[in-house]
Every structure is written in C-alpha cells, then in structure tokens.
Symmetry: C2
C-alpha cells in the first residue's frame, strides 16, 4: 500500500460505488459519493493504471458520450474459495469484477488421512490455473463445516470427523505467493456473505449437518470465539433427546424417505437427494411424508432463530434449496405458529447450489479490497 | 449542541475516559487519549463550566499534586429508567456520575386499563423528584417485556397482556421538559446494557416471562425490527409442545414447587419465590426437584443460545438470580453437554435484583452523552 489513509479510503469509496452500481461515469461517481470531480478523475486514473478499473464505452444506464464510463476490471486479479464438505471439494474463483472464472468439483473422503493432501493439491492447482489466466490471486479462503478458530484451525468438525487440524497453515505454506492472503472460516458464515440480501438475514446449510450463518445488524455474527451458528445441536430435553439435525437434517430425511437406500452410499448425499426428488415428483406417499416432517421440524428450528434474532430473510441452502418446493410450504406454518412477532422472516431457497460457501469465501477477498483494508496496489 | 463535530467528538472522548478510568489528571487524560494537553485543558474547562465535570483533590490512583484531577460531576444531571413488569413498576435514577439517586417500587396490575395512567404518574413524580434534587433530567427510558418497536410502541407483550400501546408517546407528552429524551425498549436488552461485562454476553430475564438481551460483537443485537431475544418461545415440536417458558419459567416452577400455593396470588411472584427459597433451604424434596428440573431445562435453552451466538458470559437475572444456588449447578452440566464448542459461556447470577432493566434504561442516556450523540451543552 503506497497511499495515505485518506487516499486509500477514497479509492475504496470509488470501488464500492462501482461494485454496487455497475459501470458509471466519473461525473456520476462524483455526484453519488460527494467526492469532487478532479479527485474522482485522479482516483480512477490510479485504479485504471493498477488494473482494478477499465474504461468502458457504456455507462450502463445512459445514452451518449461513449467512453466516459468506468467499470471494475476483471482481467488482472482473482480470488478463490475452496469449500470442504464431507463428500466433496469445490474450488471456485471470481475475477475482481465478480465474474466466476473457475468452478471445479472433486470427490473427497474427508475422514481419511489423505483429505488434507487433496485439499492442498486442489488449492495449488486452482491458484496455478488462475495465474495461467493471467490473474494475480488476491486471496484464498477455505470454507469448512464446524468450529474454525481465528487462526484458521479447524477445532472440531463432526461432519468431517476432524479435530484440531491447522488447515489454514497447511494450505498457506503450500502456496508461496507473497501477498496472497489465506484464511479459513465456517462455511455457513461465508455462504451468508455470498447470499447477503438484507441487514438481518440467515443462511441455513443443508448438507451433512445443519449450520446457520447470521448477518445481524449488517455484520456477520462472530461471537466470543467465532463458534456461532451451530443450530443442528438445538434440542430441548436431556442428553440424547432428538436434535434439530435428527429431526430435520438431510441425511435423516434420506434415511426416512428411502429406507431401502444403501446407508454406505450416503457419504455422497447428492444421488440420494436426487432420488428423493424423483419419488416426490411421482407422488410417493412415504417420501412426501418424510419431506413434510422435515419441513415442519425445520420450521420449528427456524422459529427459534427468528424469535432470537429477528431476521427479515432466511435463505435455505444446499440440499434444502433443491427440496424447497416441499420443504418451504411445510416449514412456513410452523415458523409462523411459533413466532411471537407477527410478520417475521421470509423463507426463500438459495440459487447458489452446493457452493455458496466457496463463492462467499472468494467474495470476502474482493470485500477486503473494496473496504480499503487490502489494496493490491504497490505504487 | 453549539460545538463543531470535532469538538463534540473530543468532549465525548474525555467523558468516556473518565467513565472508564475514574478521576484522572489532565495529563493522564492527554497521555491516554492522544489529545494534546492544551486541548484537554480546554475541553475539561468547557465540561466543568457546563457541570459535566468537577475538579477533585484526588486523582484516585496517584499521590501528590492535589487539585489537578477531574471527575464526572453528578450534581447537575440525572437519567431515569422506569421498568414495567406484570406485578410492579420500578423507577430508578442515576446522576451523571452513575450514582443511583432514586429507587422506587410500586405495585401494579398491568392488565388493568389503569396501568398506563399509573406509569405516567410515576414518571412525572420521578422527574419532579429529580428536579427537586437540583438535577436536569437528561432522559427517561421505559423498559417493557415483549415486542417494542422503534417508535416506542409496545406491539405485543404477553406478560403485560398488552398490544399496540404507544407507551413512549403517552409518557413523552406528559413530561413537558424541552430536550428530555423519552424512549421505550425491551427490558432484556436494557438489562444487558446494565450488566455489560464482555463483548459477547447474554442477560436472561426471569420474571413473568423469559427473554434474552444479547450483546454480540460489542453491540446490543437489534434485528430487523428490534424484536429479538424471545427465548421463552423456544420449542421443538408441533404447536402446543412445551416451550422453554413452560419447562423453565419462574411461574411454572412455583406451580410445581408449591402445589398448594394460591394461583391468584401469582400476580406478584416475589412472595412465592421467597417461599421456594425457604423450603429449599429446609431441604423440601419436592421443591428441590422442581428447582433441579427448572435448572436442567434452562441449561438446555441456554445451550441453544450458546451454540448460536457463542457468548463468553450468560447472566441470569431477576428471580433466577435469587434461585441461582440451585439453578446454576443444575443448568451447568446440561449447558456443557449440549454445546458443540468446549469451554463455552460462564453462567453467573445478576447482582442487580429485579431492576437491572431500569438501571440499563437510565444508563443508556449517560451513554448517549458519552458517545457525543446528545451533549447537554448549549454554548
């Protein structure tokens, strides 16, 4: 960072304006941000020199004077999210303009000792590919289910069968690019960043476990140690009482819906969820009952979340999203029935498939630049 | 406010330093805040002129040079909290130095139509008494159980039997002092402000209902509409399933512990709680069982809170605090057993009796001044 604090703050103001509003003329940036036109010209000139912005013929929302607008430049930088699930790895990269430039899936057996080696190898291959595209990697974030501490160590991940794995350290030491920021964080929080659409909203994961990423009062809820959102453990009763995961989890759903399904095959839930969808579409009564029960219990769990944090939106992710046409109608009456405050959260399905957390991990590095915390400019 | 923004910000810096550190010399304030000594002298001079600070002979933690220290001045201003419960009203005032200068309790039948009249009358008497003490009232906050919107209207309070009562408006229009700020807010959040002792902590009320005030990442959790902390509604099961209030509430505890107690007398829970304590001390087996069951269920509910928000401290308030010697040992194993993250929140009893929310309501007005949002100086 070769700029003063004020300069860096103003560069960030311009970047955030373009991130939110799309291509804009310098005059529009000045009018909207309150910076004067000469300052905006100087700032955009610097950002173009450093390949964070580019000139564009179209301002996106006005006619005439082509060539006067600027836009985020995706050609020079990219950021990577690498999502670790019990049954698969997903690598995703976005360029600085936010366009997805890479999406890879790999099967994984997370509980084996070889899992970390496969994660490191995929991280290296992804970074190499992004560089081959001509882009510098701004950062890489590992998205993990369970408890991840502030150093990026996975303290406890029941879904992965891990405890005390220094995943961030292992990956960071294998990627020897100066200035590349490597972080690790809970997947649900990262998915909430990718799905952010309100100042108070919740993303609910539906894979091998249930976790929640909470954006409260505009910020991702961190808590004392970062160990938030463990809603799968919700229970009211003595030890051994059914938890929210037992009542509304995806794997318990599959076991109830498809009693003949080979349990060993459930390391990868996707084929089973596909089968549930096929049989639900065919009107299979047992499958529809299992879906309805799952939706009802999920609604009860989401009512706990809503009574506590008063979100305006709850986004159902992962396999819940694929099953949303059955889950949401069953969940909504339970959610409404258990809420003290009328007119609570709207329940919607994620459209980000199984890689919302990978996207959130990548986006988090763009947000670091946009906020001025980490400007990839060495002037 | 007759000052520039920078001046107001610096005045607030000095006030916050003294609020945190107690009486200090001007040199110590300059060293700690980074303001230069001439600026500190000018700021303290203004604050003394406006009776927010006073000279004091003792700096509190150093010997010699008497007369060089300044301290918060409690003589000119005070703030009021008025806590509305189902069975009583509590009025509390603190001076600007944070010393309690008034504490009144009044019996109340909240469900009667006369309740708001009694609240207004108590607010007026309290303000009058504070003025008779020679103090200007900075503000008055009404602390209410249930859902209170941002305009200070009580949308729904099951504990009071109220819906859509514009309590703030009724009280504000009856207190005709220019500049007096009147607000209304949920009691649990205000109690959390009074008990604030960590960046992530929770206050749990135990009166006619159970509510939580959550301080997360240093700020009181507000949510989309301010309708947070409704933990008494926690349930996992279809409508009609027992809620956390059914399982761990104070009134259900009293009904189980004292089956012969006249239910009509439970409008005021304090005598019943006293009787529970007497019989528990005498070793009454049924009472001890009821206390243990209540503590266990409360621990399960607090585990839900902890798994979600990862607090470092949970403060049990009101009647839970009076019963803490039985409740906490029963709750702790359940809390630990249901937590995914080892080493979770410490469970402690409030020492603020039944008026933590009144205190928090009063303190909130001192914080408005300390933060520079509302400087009672007309220069």
């Amino acid at each position: 960072m070769g700029f003063t604090d004020v300069r860096a703050t103003n560069l960030a103001v311009v970047l955030r304006h373009l991130r939110t509003n799309g291509p804009s003329s310098r005059a529009a940036i000045a009018a909207s941000t309150g910076l004067n036109k000469a300052t905006v010209s100087s700032l955009t000139s610097d950002l173009i020199d450093h390949r964070l912005l580019r000139e564009t013929g179209s301002s996106g929302n006005r006619i005439g004077r082509p060539g006067t607008a600027v836009a985020l430049d995706g050609s020079a930088y990219a950021a990577i999210g690498l999502q670790v699930a019990a049954d698969r790895l997903t690598a995703l990269a976005v360029d600085f303009a936010g366009e997805q430039v890479l999406l890879w899936h790999r099967a994984l057996a997370a509980e084996g000792g070889r899992a970390t080696g496969e994660i490191i190898a995929l991280a290296q291959r992804t970074a190499t590919r992004v560089r081959q595209q001509g882009r510098t990697v701004l950062g890489l974030t590992l998205a993990v289910p369970g408890l991840v501490d502030e150093d990026g160590t996975v303290r406890l991940s029941p879904a992965l069968g891990w405890s005390d794995v220094d995943l961030r350290g292992l990956v960071a030491s294998s990627l020897r690019q100066p200035g590349l920021v490597v972080t690790a964080a809970n997947q649900a929080g990262l998915a909430a960043i990718a799905e952010r659409r309100a100042e108070n909203m919740i993303f609910v994961t539906g894979t091998a476990g249930i976790e929640a990423g909470l954006i409260v009062d505009g910020k991702l809820l961190h808590g004392a140690r970062g160990f938030t959102g463990q809603i799968g453990r919700f229970a009211l009763g003595p030890a051994g009482s059914p938890t929210l995961h037992d009542l509304a989890g995806i794997e318990p759903l599959v076991r109830r819906a498809l009693p003949g399904f080979d349990p060993d095959s459930l390391t990868d839930l996707s084929p089973a969820v596909e089968q549930v969808i096929v049989q639900a579409r065919a009107g299979d009564a047992a499958v529809l009952t299992a879906l309805r029960d799952t939706g009802r219990h999920l609604g009860q769990g989401l009512a706990i979340l809503s009574n506590l944090t008063d979100p305006s939106v709850i986004v159902l992710g992962d396999h819940y999203a694929a099953l949303a046409e059955w889950i949401i109608p069953a969940a909504n009456p339970e959610l409404a029935g258990h809420l003290l405050a009328p007119g609570g959260a709207e329940l919607v399905a994620s459209e980000l498939g199984l890689h919302a957390a990978a996207l959130g991990g990548a986006i988090s590095h763009l947000e670091r630049v946009d906020s001025g915390r980490s400007m990839p400019i060495t002037a």
